[in-house]
């Protein structure tokens, strides 16, 4: 393990700070055909719910300038099928695997957290209170400090695993939500989830997506994501996992300088599956070139004093 590059995020030991973002890597098997995914810092699974979810009708993806809108609707096999079908191969990986969880109600979050906590080797839970693509729950929990607090508290009570709160960018003050999550026991903060957007088909004169709104991700949102990492870094003491439009190692360095302890690559994997590896390599070179002894030196280093 390269010590310069390794980082411990609330007890999750990562050999490098480059993860893959929930929902853009499924359960790892697809991209494992393209490269050795044990080279990643960590993997975050597709969002899981208690019951299987079929997801939203197509179209589910729409391209926008330097971004994509998605309306997947949390399609997933449910927590039980995850445990029987996916966990066996995931648990064989040598890197931390983080389960991303979602629920319609606070109770759902509690239950799924409790259920997953029985999995030996699972590294942490990332609590998605920011999914814009579902009828109930999801983003609504992440748009109000009080309900964010409730959800995180319920998960905290259900698990001994590190709890990462994944926040929505669709708020006036992301700091307030972050503070609420931390006060309820979150060990780390992930951000950002997708921005709420939409597109209209001018021939049909109707929204492109059945649910009208969809989630915007990709390079287009990077300036906003970076700003939010900066804001949350100033507001809370727990580690931050930064994401939103990261495509190059330069982007990753920007997020670390803004205050993230690790970064996650999402949409960019669709453009080039090897993006996470390119970022790892470029980031390493940057550390060497700059004579930086540990990545810790870089976290938040762009903040004054």
């Amino acid at each position: 393990m390269d010590n310069k590059f390794s980082i411990d995020i609330c007890g999750i030991p990562m050999k490098n700070p480059v993860m893959v973002a929930s929902g853009t890597f499924s359960f790892g098997e697809e991209y494992a055909k393209f490269y050795d995914i044990n080279k990643l810092g960590a993997i975050v699974t597709k969002g899981l719910t208690l019951e299987p979810k079929t997801g939203n009708p197509p179209p589910r993806i729409y391209e926008t300038p330097a971004g994509i809108l998605n309306s997947i609707g949390l399609e997933n096999p449910g927590v039980e099928a995850f445990i029987t079908e996916e966990w066996p191969h995931l648990s064989k990986l040598s890197i931390p695997v983080i389960a991303n969880i979602d629920g319609d109600t606070v109770e759902d979050y509690h239950k799924i957290a409790w259920r997953l906590s029985s999995l030996e080797g699972l590294a942490a839970l990332e609590v998605n209170i920011s999914c814009p693509n579902v009828e109930k729950g999801g983003m609504a929990f992440g748009q109000d400090p009080e309900s964010a607090r409730e959800v995180i508290k319920a998960v905290r009570e259900a698990t001994h695993l590190p709890v990462i709160a994944k926040l929505s960018p669709n708020v006036t003050s992301v700091q307030k939500i972050a503070e609420a999550a931390v006060s309820a026991g979150a060990d780390a903060i992930s951000l950002i989830n997708t921005l709420l957007g939409m597109a209209i088909d001018i021939n049909k004169k109707k929204p492109v997506f059945h649910r009208t709104f969809a989630g915007l991700s990709g390079p287009a949102v990077k300036p906003i994501a970076l700003r939010m990492v900066w804001e949350v870094y100033k507001a809370v003491k727990v580690p931050i996992i930064g994401m939103g439009g990261i495509t190059s190692w330069q982007d990753a360095v920007e997020f670390i300088l803004a205050g993230a302890s690790a970064v996650a690559v999402g949409t960019a994997s669709f453009v080039d599956p090897l993006t996470p590896l390119h970022i790892i390599a470029g980031f390493k070179q940057y550390l060497a070139d700059q004579g930086i002894k540990s990545i810790g030196e870089l976290i938040g280093a762009a903040h004054p004093f």
């Binding site: 697809e30 597709k46 997801g55 993806i61 390079p219």
Partner: protein, 271 residues
């Protein structure tokens, strides 16, 4: 466009596609899926045929001989070619004919007979036709249709398919052929072949616009003939990781066009 990529050429199956990064910048951001229209192990090349419809294909069309292209593939599951098929029908519409060329060749190789089968190919007009000599060379009887009547039958290829089937009512009660083992293509979709009269269609392959596929599905269901449809959906990852390219499964829920398809047995999917 012919691409030199021996690894892909060596393993590609008809119906599979490659995922092309058209621009090395950010617009368009996503890759574009394009079917493999031919693969040649000997030369190590594959061929793609595409229509310029938007930004991605426009950039693609500007590439010059000798340039390199960032592609992923072969992706997806191709057309199954079960052993024992005697007289397949291939139905293509417009640019959807592209992957069917590769299929015609593969059937011809796998199933050497005097007449390999029949192809119904529809185009908007005579100017838009392509691959016609090639399909005939593969031993297929070729029926061309154009929307404007500038060549062949004026109308849809599904009209001709329907007529063909009606003219030669298949004996549905004859014993099913024992083997449905595939000799080319992936295991799924699982297709069962029934024996019919002489030159009676025993399997239908189709690729083209949605209305064409829907029509083929209904004709095939009516006639009790298995049909394999190649579907399109907007894609992001192209490998099954994003769940973006959903198609409704007949059993409820969704399947992924990029990974579970793009070829599906007609009865598996709702279109």
């Amino acid at each position: 466009m012919v691409l030199n990529c021996p690894e892909i050429a060596a393993t590609a199956k008809p119906g599979q596609f490659i995922h092309i990064r058209c621009s090395d910048g950010l617009s368009p951001l996503l890759r574009r899926p394009i079917s493999i229209a031919m693969a040649d192990i000997d030369t190590g090349t594959i061929e793609i045929i595409y229509r310029v419809v938007g930004e991605g294909t426009k950039i693609l069309a500007r590439k010059k001989k000798g340039e390199t292209l960032d592609i992923m593939g072969p992706l997806g599951k191709g057309f199954p070619i079960p052993e024992g098929i005697k007289f397949p029908a291939i139905v293509g519409g417009g640019i959807g004919v592209a992957p069917l060329l590769f299929l015609a060749k593969a059937i011809n190789t796998a199933n050497k007979r005097e007449t390999a089968g029949i192809i119904f190919a529809g185009f908007s007009s005579d100017d838009e036709t392509f691959g016609t000599f090639f399909m005939e060379d593969c031993g297929f009887k070729l029926e061309i249709c154009t929307d404007d009547g500038s060549r062949g039958y004026k109308g849809f290829p599904t009209d001709l398919l329907e007529k063909y089937i009606n003219d030669r009512k298949i004996e549905n009660d004859t014993a099913s052929v024992n083997s449905s083992k595939e000799i080319i293509g992936p295991m799924s979709p699982h297709v069962e072949i029934k024996a019919g009269g002489k030159n009676a269609i025993d399997i239908i392959y189709a690729c083209g616009p949605k209305p064409l596929l829907a029509k083929v599905k209904s004709i095939a269901a009516g006639a009790g003939i298995p049909a394999c449809l190649s579907l399109e959906e907007r894609m992001a990852c192209g490998v099954g990781a994003c769940l973006g390219c959903a198609v409704k499964s007949a059993e409820g829920g969704y399947m992924k066009v990029c990974k579970d398809g793009p070829v599906f047995e007609a009865s598996q999917v709702e279109i």
